[in-house]
């Protein structure tokens, strides 16, 4: 049974159809990269899986349960899948530790002591054990993004959705975030990432999904996608269009 099952997902803004029937099964422990040009619908797809965008047709099942789109259903869905954003979206008025502790305390009703223990563990896991009391404004972009990862992990999600999480970072800070992702992948975490880091996609991901004009245009292993792209659109995207 797949961990996440998308069936015939349709979404449009007004007359503009952004997702034109997406079906995708994601197994537990799988690491998947969504690639494609901007506007191809990959970010929207990710945001649908976290319930940040509504969709008109189709269904999303997580852990064998269909995701409901009412407020309570969305909260259940979001406890199962965590989300990490391009702009980090840390809460600037809370320390790194408090950022991580918040959801376990409010959503899972943990005591402050328990939540702190988890927060310290998660910050350790992303290599920021010493920055528990730092405010986001005092940290580099890479550190902030790692706190955001720890914050999502603290809810013990079944899968993590990553929306271009290195795109807003200075080039020298990208690798520290990718190293964390690599560790998570090694520990068997299910990851679905929208990314432009092709090397990372090739080295770490199990499957690549190439999206084009709101549809899954090609899908396959990194070797398959990079070595033997089938469609001209993918070849053009990869810049390997033969002369």
């Amino acid at each position: 049974m797949p961990l996440i099952k998308l069936t015939n997902l349709h979404k449009s803004y007004g007359n503009h159809e952004v997702l034109k029937g997406i079906s995708l099964d994601i197994a537990a422990g799988e690491v998947i990269a969504l690639i494609g040009k901007s506007g191809s619908g990959k970010s929207t797809l990710l945001r649908c899986v976290n319930g940040l965008e509504s969709f008109q047709k189709g269904s999303i099942d997580v852990g064998g349960q269909p995701a409901l789109t009412n407020a309570a259903g969305l909260r259940i869905l979001r406890q199962k899948v965590g989300m990490i954003f391009q702009q980090f979206n840390l809460f600037p008025h809370m320390t790194a530790g408090r950022n991580v502790m918040l959801a376990p305390m409010v959503v899972k009703q943990m005591s402050a002591g328990q939540a702190e223990e988890i927060a310290r563990k998660m910050l350790d896991r992303v290599g920021l054990g010493t920055r528990f009391d730092s405010y986001p404004g005092q940290m580099s972009g890479g550190q902030q993004q790692r706190v955001a990862i720890a914050r999502a992990l603290a809810m013990e999600p079944l899968a993590l959705l990553c929306d271009e999480i290195t795109s807003a970072l200075d080039p020298e800070l990208v690798s520290e975030v990718l190293a964390v992702m690599r560790d998570l992948a090694g520990q068997g975490m299910t990851l679905v990432m929208v990314t432009h880091e092709m090397r990372f996609a090739r080295d770490v991901c199990h499957r690549l999904v190439f999206m084009h004009q709101g549809q899954i245009h090609e899908i396959g292993s990194p070797e398959h996608i990079f070595a033997a792209p089938q469609t001209p659109e993918l070849r053009q995207f990869l810049g390997v269009e033969a002369a």
């Binding site: 600037p92 008025h93 918040l102 999502a152």
Partner: protein, 219 residues
């Protein structure tokens, strides 16, 4: 007929100014609490609550404070009650303040980036928790300066309560003018006293705003 020296004028005006201060503070705090309620109705995702709040704000911002004072003064009479001027003054000023503060604060809530709401919802926080832990604490920080600034409007607004007979600074000015026939001196002093009350508040509001902007740039 009494003889008023300039000192007598100032002394009597200062006594009356205490009521201006008291009414301003009462209306500001009353209006703040009521305003928080209106703000909640305004931002909560419920169509009817939003409409009620918008109607409230529209009515109190779209009509003269003086009319609101008259209505607060005369409406209880319909039910056979005669309210003293200070009750009507407090009630009207509170309702009026609430409308403006609710609107100021809504602007602050809307200034919080969408990503903060999204991050909070992606962590499965319920709506109320998103407001309480994420949005309101940040909105509060940017709300301080304009809220303090609005206190100046409240202090000036209390001058209108003289018209329904509440004896505060402006009313005292009129009474003393009628006794001394020195409107230039008396209203000049009244104006300076309002200025002495309001200017420091205006300045601190500006100072708070500059400090906040400076803090923003440090990030």
């Amino acid at each position: 007929m009494m003889n008023f020296s300039t000192w007598d004028i100032i002394h009597n005006l200062l006594l009356a100014a205490r009521w201006t201060v008291a009414l301003s503070l009462a209306a500001f705090f009353g209006g703040g609490m009521m305003g928080a309620l209106i703000l909640f109705l305004r931002v909560v995702p419920n169509r009817i609550a939003g409409l009620v709040a918008r109607f409230y704000i529209e009515v109190f911002q779209g009509t003269p404070l003086l009319m609101q004072l008259f209505l607060a003064f005369f409406a209880p009479a319909l039910f056979g009650m005669n309210v003293p001027a200070w009750v009507a003054a407090f009630a009207a000023l509170t309702l009026w303040t609430a409308a403006f503060l609710a609107e100021i604060w809504r602007g602050c809530v809307e200034a919080i980036p969408k990503g903060q709401w999204e991050a909070a919802s992606s962590l499965a926080l319920p709506y109320i928790a998103q407001l309480r832990y994420i949005v309101l604490p940040q909105a509060l920080r940017i709300a301080v300066a304009p809220t303090v600034g609005f206190l100046v409007q409240v202090v000036k607004g209390t001058a209108l309560t003289s018209i329904i007979g509440f004896v505060e600074l402006s009313k005292a000015g009129t009474i003393i003018t009628n006794a001394t026939f020195e409107p230039f001196t008396v209203y000049g002093c009244v104006a300076l006293m309002y200025f002495a009350l309001c200017w420091p508040i205006s300045q601190s509001s500006r100072w708070l705003e500059r400090r906040l902007n400076a803090a923003h740039q440090a990030h």
